[in-house]
Structures are given as C-alpha cells and as structure tokens.
C-alpha cells in the first residue's frame, strides 16, 4: 500500500509495531477523508448534469411532437393541444429587458451616491439597508405589485395601462426587486478601486463626476457589467414577483404594456393542473429557461471573475 511505503520511506521503520499501526490507520483516515470530501464536491457536478438530463428526458414527448414549431407557434392553447413557447419567451425577455433598463440607471445612481457623495455616518447604515432589502422574498414584491402598483397605474394612466397588470407592470416590479441586488454588487465593485486612484484624479482637479466617469467606472467595467448580468439572470428566472402582475395572457401580444406571460409564470400557473403533453411542454419551457439563464449567468461569472482577479 502506498501509505505503508510512505511511512517506511520517511524513516519511521524503527518505530514499534503498535505505533506504526496507529500511524497507518491515521494515514488511511487521511485518504478516506479526502475521498469523501471529493465525492461531495463531485456531487455538485452530477447535480447539474442531473438537472439538464431530467428536464430533457421529461420534456422529450413535447419536443418530439412539436419540434421547431414549439418556438414559432404564437399561442399556448391547452384545449386544442397547441403549445407554442413564443408568448412565454417574448414575455420573459421583454419583462427582463424593461427591468434592466429601469434598474441599471437607478442602481448605479444609488451606488455612486453611496460611494462618492454620501456623508460618512449614513454610508454604513444605508449600505446595510440595501443589502437587507435584497433579502426580501420575491413573493412580497408580487403581492405589492398586484395590490398597490397595478391599481395605481390604472388610475394614473388609464390609457396606457387599461388593466393595470401586464408586461410593463411586471417589468417595473422586477426592476424594484433587482435594484437592491445590483446596487449592492455595484457598490462592492466600486469599493475595490484603490483609494490612491481616486485621490490622484482629485489631485489633478477633476470633479466628482469626472473621477467617477473617467477613472472609477472604467477601471471596474467588467465587474459592473457582471453585476448587471447577474441581476438580469435573476429577472429572467423570477416566478413569484411576475406571476401576480403579468396578466397571464397565453396568446402573443407584441406590445409593451399589454397582458402577457413569462416562462416562469406560465409554469407556475399551469403545472399543477396539467398532464400528458401539456406537462411535458411545460417542462420543455423549463429547459429553455434553464438554458437561457445558464448562458447569461456563465457570461456574468466570466466577467466577474476577471474583474475581481485584477483587484484582489
């Protein structure tokens, strides 16, 4: 055995049998300890494989039956067994896009305020508050959207939001949900910029905005984009914040404010009452969502790894 040889080679041959046995046993524990830990780490890999495999396996009947039509069919009609992913994919992408368009300027504004302008005594409490708000469960945002935001939009802009709910409303709710998250990441990334860089720019006579725009933001570009894309990943896969306010219209309506649906909302609404082809089609939707978020998250992690590597 390798461990026995190692003990002999290390000059422990003169030890008594009992001592040697004890050492050998401990060395064996060492080996098995590492193997056990590795098995658990490897399980993470298997988990991802299992998720993809099980989704593919259980969505296979629908993929086989509809093929590429699944992506071009513009309605989801269970009564005639016609299932098209287009309305849901459109809704997912559009709501996430609206969310990013609203959330990014606001989050960057808050992060710049917190790091560059905010009086020192407020910096810590406000930062902690933002982090705490990022922990609120998403169902709360959905409930608030349905009970407060949708009626407000309906009263204030009856022509734009006749029902209050819809794709744009869902986008706004998603934006409110990811603002704390993107802000927290952006603030952390900006804080990695060495103080010397900031000070030297101020020393040259730059204004706060010039320091931010020309020195700080360019030096952490990768991290900023990474944070935004992570936020996008959250918005794409969000279920509960969206389901309440998106309107659940299963026919494609290519408007900004109309009623629609998203992949996650459609699955949440229909899965428990579905069977057969419909259930399989819903699982196929899940697979599509997983692949979209996988690509987005992989991109975000790639950008974030690069940026933290440079400063850490």
């Amino acid at each position: 055995m390798a461990t026995t040889n190692a003990i002999q080679a290390s000059g422990l041959g003169h030890l008594s049998d009992a001592t040697r046995k004890r050492l050998q046993r401990k060395a064996r524990i060492d080996v098995w300890f590492e193997r056990t830990l590795f098995a658990f780490a490897f399980a993470v890999l298997l988990l991802l494989g299992a998720i993809i495999a099980s989704l593919m396996f259980s969505s296979w009947p629908a993929i086989q039956r509809y093929g590429l039509d699944f992506f071009t069919e513009n309605r989801w009609a269970a009564n005639v067994e016609v299932f098209g992913a287009l309305p849901a994919i459109y809704g997912t992408l559009l709501t996430s896009f609206i969310a990013i368009v609203i959330a990014v300027p606001v989050s960057f504004g808050i992060a710049i305020f917190l790091t560059e302008q905010c009086p020192g005594f407020l910096r810590q409490p406000l930062g902690t508050l933002i982090e705490l708000l990022a922990g609120i469960p998403s169902i709360i945002y959905g409930m608030w959207g349905m009970e407060v935001l949708a009626p407000l939009l309906r009263t204030w802009f009856p022509t734009v939001f006749p029902a209050g709910t819809g794709l744009a409303t869902a986008g706004i709710i998603l934006a409110v949900m990811i603002i704390p998250f993107i802000t927290a990441v952006t603030r952390d990334v900006i804080n990695t910029v060495p103080a010397v860089m900031r000070e030297s720019a101020y020393g040259l006579g730059c204004t706060t905005w010039e320091v931010t725009r020309r020195v700080i933001l360019p030096s952490v570009k990768g991290g900023l984009v990474g944070g935004v894309v992570l936020g996008l990943g959250r918005a794409l896969g969000e279920t509960m914040a969206v389901t309440f306010v998106i309107g659940n219209n299963l026919f494609l309506s290519t408007t900004l404010t109309g009623q629609g649906t998203s992949i996650a909302a459609l699955i949440a609404n229909q899965f428990s009452e579905s069977d057969g082809t419909q259930r399989s089609a819903l699982l196929a939707l899940g697979l599509i969502l997983f692949l979209i978020t996988f690509a987005v998250l992989a991109f975000a992690r790639y950008l974030l790894r690069n940026s933290t590597g440079r400063h850490a």
């Binding site: 060395a27 830990l37 590795f38 399980a43 560059e116 922990g135 709360i140 349905m146 704390p180 998250l297």
Partner: protein, 283 residues
C-alpha cells in the same frame, strides 16, 4: 482672469452638480419604492396577526397560519441540516484539496451557476426525479428542493472562509505531527466557524422565503402535519400564494396572506441582521 470664471470651468461644475443631483434623485426613488413596499406590508399585515394566527391551522374561513409556519420551519431546518453537511464537505474540498486543477475550476463554475439558477427550475427537477417516481407530493421533495438551493450558498461561504485561514496555521499544526484531516477539522474549522455559520444562516433565510420550488414538490395542505414528511406539507409561502390567487375571493384569507407575508419578511430580516451581527462579533 480667475480660473473659476472661465466657461469650461463653469460647464464642468454644472455638469457635476447635475449628475450628483440625479444620483441623489435615484437614491430617493429607490428607497421610496422599497419603503413603500415595507409600509404596505406592515399596514396590511399587522391587523390580521393575533396570537391565534400562530396556533390555529389554515381553514377556508377564519383559522390561522400555525401549520404553515411549522411546515416552513421544519422543511427549512431539514434542508439546512442536509445542505450544511453536503456544502461544508464540498466547500472544504474546494478550499483545501483542489489545488489549481481543472476539476476544481469546473466545480466552482458549476456551483456559481447553481447559486443563481432560477428556483422554479429546481422545483421542476425535483418534481421529475422525486415526485413522479414516488407518486405523490411530499415534504421530502420540498426538503430536497430547498437543499439544492442552499447547498451552493454553503459551499461558497465555506470555501471563502477557509481560504481566509493563513497557511502558517496549517503548517504549524503539520509541524507538530497532525494529520491533514485533523488539521482541517481542529484548526481550520475552528478558525472559520463564525464565517461558515453566517453563510448557513443567510442560506436559511433565503430558502425560508422560497415559493417557486415548493409549487410542485411539497405543495400545500390545510392540515396539521408535524413530522410526516412523506405526505404533503403545509408551508407559509405556498399558503400566501394560494390565498392571494385561487382563494383571493375570500377577503379574510387575503388579509391572512398579508399577515403571513409580514411574519415571513420579519423573520427573514431578523435572520439577516442576526447573521450580520454574528459575523461582526467574531471577526
């Protein structure tokens, strides 16, 4: 001529002021929205919370949230215990044994993906591999779905915290003749304990508010179910969801849902604050 009078200087100054005002505006807007949500939550929720909310089971009229709170607590605890064992072990391997190999890079990358994978997908996955073969929705399926969500959180914090332990400590222990596993268990873990605990606590807070993965796994129930994880398990997020959607025509249940939402959010915020306090105390 004074430099402060030049057009360029004034333009730069004005631009700076404009952007700074916009940033302040963004901060105000952001916090107004978030406080509006908290305000709604408190004003709508506080009225329907009474002592009986915590002890009575959910009913179609009246009733409380006792069984749902218990179910959420039980499933979250079970998932945290399982997730801690898996996550700490895997995180330890990544921090202590992986080196710079390809395998470690791949596992780390996959873990990062799982860390922010949509939770509804995790629910579908557990549905396909646990609920379908077992033939019914069960508390165990819910526990497993939550476990899959908490494991990446624990792995991440375990690895990060173990990496903060200076190598000289490991070397000192090795020089005294300690075996590697003994070094990890007695030296590294005792140094990283506070950080790992914080990670677990944050993960616990996160999974206790998850709704989407429970939709097709534990489902919900309006009965008391204390320890029978083999059958459907009541839980707070699903109860809130059902009261706000399929039971939304009953005003009492909607009010109760807001009460439940307030309880859930308050618990999660307290857990987050505790985790923060805990990590600051020890470091």
């Amino acid at each position: 001529m004074d430099i402060k009078q030049t057009p360029l200087y004034r333009r730069r100054k004005r631009l700076n002021q404009l952007v700074m005002v916009l940033c302040q505006l963004a901060t105000v807007i952001g916090f107004v929205f978030l406080f509006a949500i908290l305000f709604t939550l408190v004003t709508k929720g506080i009225g329907s919370i009474s002592p009986s909310t915590f002890v009575e089971r959910t009913r179609m009229n009246g009733g409380g949230l006792g069984n749902a709170i218990w179910g959420t607590f039980l499933m979250t605890c079970a998932a945290t215990v399982i997730g801690t064992v898996i996550g700490v072990a895997a995180g330890t391997w990544l921090a202590e044994y992986s080196g710079k190999g390809l395998m470690a890079k791949v596992i780390r990358f996959i873990n990062d993906i799982l860390l922010s994978a949509p939770s509804i997908i995790i629910g579908l996955f557990i549905y396909a591999v646990v609920v379908v073969p077992m033939g019914n929705f069960s508390g165990w399926a819910g526990v497993l779905a939550l476990t899959v969500i908490i494991v990446p959180v624990v792995i991440r914090s375990t690895e990060d915290m173990l990496r903060l332990i200076p190598n000289s400590l490991r070397e000192a222990a090795a020089a005294l003749g300690a075996h590697r596993w003994w070094i990890i268990v007695r030296v590294c873990y005792s140094g990283a304990r506070a950080g790992i605990m914080t990670g677990i606590l944050l993960g616990f807070a996160r999974i206790s508010g998850e709704t989407a993965p429970l939709l097709f796994t534990s489902l919900n129930s309006n009965q008391w179910n204390f320890f029978d994880l083999g059958s459907e398990m009541a839980n707070l997020p699903m109860t809130i969801y059902q009261n706000m959607t399929i039971n939304a025509f009953i005003p009492d249940l909607v009010a109760l849902a807001w009460g439940g939402a307030l309880i859930l959010t308050a618990a999660i915020l307290i857990l987050n604050i505790a985790a923060r306090y805990f990590s600051r105390q020890r470091s």
